[in-house]
Amino acid sequence: MAQSLPATAIRPLRVPLPLWGLAIGALVWWIFTTPLWYSDPIRVDFSPERTFVALVQLLSTGAIVPHVIDSLRRVLVGLLAAIAIGVPLGILLGLSRPLDQATSALFQFIRMISPLSWMPIAVMVLGIGDLPVYFLLTIAAVWSLILNTSAGVAAVDRRWLLLSKSLCATQWETISRVIIPAIIPHLLTGVRLAIGIIWIVLVPAEMLGVSAGLGYYILDTRDRLAYSELMAVILIIGTIGYCLDTSLRVAYRRWAHQR
């Protein structure tokens, strides 16, 4: 009887659901671009078949590698700058209610400005090159770090603070040995959100007068009318972003499990 079969009996045949989603996405992409039934030369350049060839080429010649490295370097610098600014500020705000209240409207206001709107100002003030890109990435990412850190500090168990005080710990000892370890899960969430935002802002930011990087490469392929290469770079961007996010999710789970 088919209906009396336990659900587990048919499990081994199943493809994981996320793979289904990816497969359907690829199928839709293929249906709308394949050279099998389209003859428009520009349209078929976007097809999976051509993209795959371009991707293999990009990877085998290593032409894309310096651009990936440049982009990752900018992500790292932007993230470190955002952490260096956001975490201490977040701790300060979490510790001081008046300071938190004084800055909350200001921060919510600035946070709502798309980081890309800073572009012209960034170029005017910082010129052309890496600096304005770093600035854009930092200002895009710093808010999620500030907000997550201060929320983490506010959620620290009051008994731990009382304990620390009863042991005559100094203010700095309480911060470094109780508060910072206690907010690590919040910090990891903040870093994960920050990387997501940085990765999204990176590509348009790299269209800003730099001569390397994935965003630059996208513009470059457009100018060369190399659309299959453009699609290949888009795939690379998506893959790297996915990997960054997954690694942080794993780190978060590791930490959460350990306690």
């Binding site: 731990w160 009382l162 304990l163 009863s166 042991l167 710990a169 100094t170 000892e173």
Partner: protein, 282 residues
């Protein structure tokens, strides 16, 4: 021994002479004078306790007994320097106290262990602060292992708090205090979150620890039996606001677990007093 000559009571605690910070009170480990604590609430000023006078000799175990909400924890936190008093003074060996003192150890009802540290590291936490920086590494290590063995947790040094039972966690909290070798140990209902059997185990362990370390203890409890088994003196607290209502001296030798029947008379007396205190009309 069928009689209980050991237990006698002081009917009027207000006749205890008020101590002053003179040489006589220096012989006391802890002296509390006219202590009062008010909380500001939305309904106005709420007095948690008032008119608290208390003296504890070195080596004494004093149990503070009272219904919940009568201000026991507030009093303990104030003595520990974690909140300031609105009136009155506290002296530790003649020195005025108003901030946390390294020679006072505090154990809460919940163990309050840091979940990212192992048992060993949790105990080490209290020894690695700047306050204790005069300790050498080897001394820190030997103090931690001594503390671990006095609460019988050998073999669990590397365990994390989430791997411990409630009783074990509370033993770590006790060890964390012991390792600092405090002159005065303040315990706030340390076993009330545990089941009856674990609690008895912990009371025995605490008694052994007290005798081993010659500790001076102020133990807050709402359990008459706990007070009778462990205390040299039992203070009964009344509420609204909290005051020390009456005091009994229990001079029967410890451990008393095997001779609990000798305490029945005193137990009944305290029980009667407590029940008239919480609802005098019924």
């Amino acid at each position: 021994m069928t009689q209980l000559p050991a237990a006698h009571s002081k009917a009027d605690p207000y006749q205890i002479p008020t101590p002053t910070a003179n040489s006589a009170s220096k012989a006391m480990l802890l002296t509390v004078q006219q202590l009062q604590k008010d909380y500001q609430t939305r309904q106005g000023t709420f007095t948690a306790f008032t008119d608290i006078n208390l003296q504890i000799h070195a080596g004494e175990v004093v149990c503070l007994l009272g219904a919940s909400g009568c201000g026991k924890s507030s009093l303990l936190l104030t003595i520990a320097g974690l909140q300031s008093a609105n009136q009155g003074e506290i002296f530790l060996q003649g020195d005025r106290l108003n901030v946390p003192h390294p020679q006072i150890g505090l154990v809460f009802q919940q163990a309050a262990l840091l979940p990212w540290l192992t048992v060993w590291q949790n105990i080490a936490f209290g020894l690695q602060l700047k306050q204790m920086s005069q300790l050498s590494r080897s001394e820190v290590r030997s103090r931690i292992s001594a503390a671990i063995s006095s609460v019988h947790l050998q073999g669990f040094e590397r365990a994390y708090p989430h791997q411990l039972s409630g009783g074990m966690a509370q033993r770590v909290a006790l060890a964390r205090s012991l390792a600092r070798q405090p002159k005065l140990l303040l315990l706030d209902e340390p076993f009330s979150a545990l089941d009856a059997i674990t609690r008895l185990e912990m009371q025995k362990l605490l008694l052994a620890v007290i005798q081993q370390h010659h500790s001076t203890v102020l133990l807050v409890t709402h359990d008459i039996d706990e007070a009778l088994l462990l205390g040299d003196r039992v203070l009964l607290m009344s509420r609204h606001p909290g005051r020390i209502h009456r005091e009994w001296i229990v001079s029967q030798p410890k451990p008393r677990f095997q001779h609990a029947h000798l305490l029945t008379e005193l137990r009944l007396e305290i029980f009667t007093e407590l029940s008239t205190l919480i609802s005098p009309d019924l």
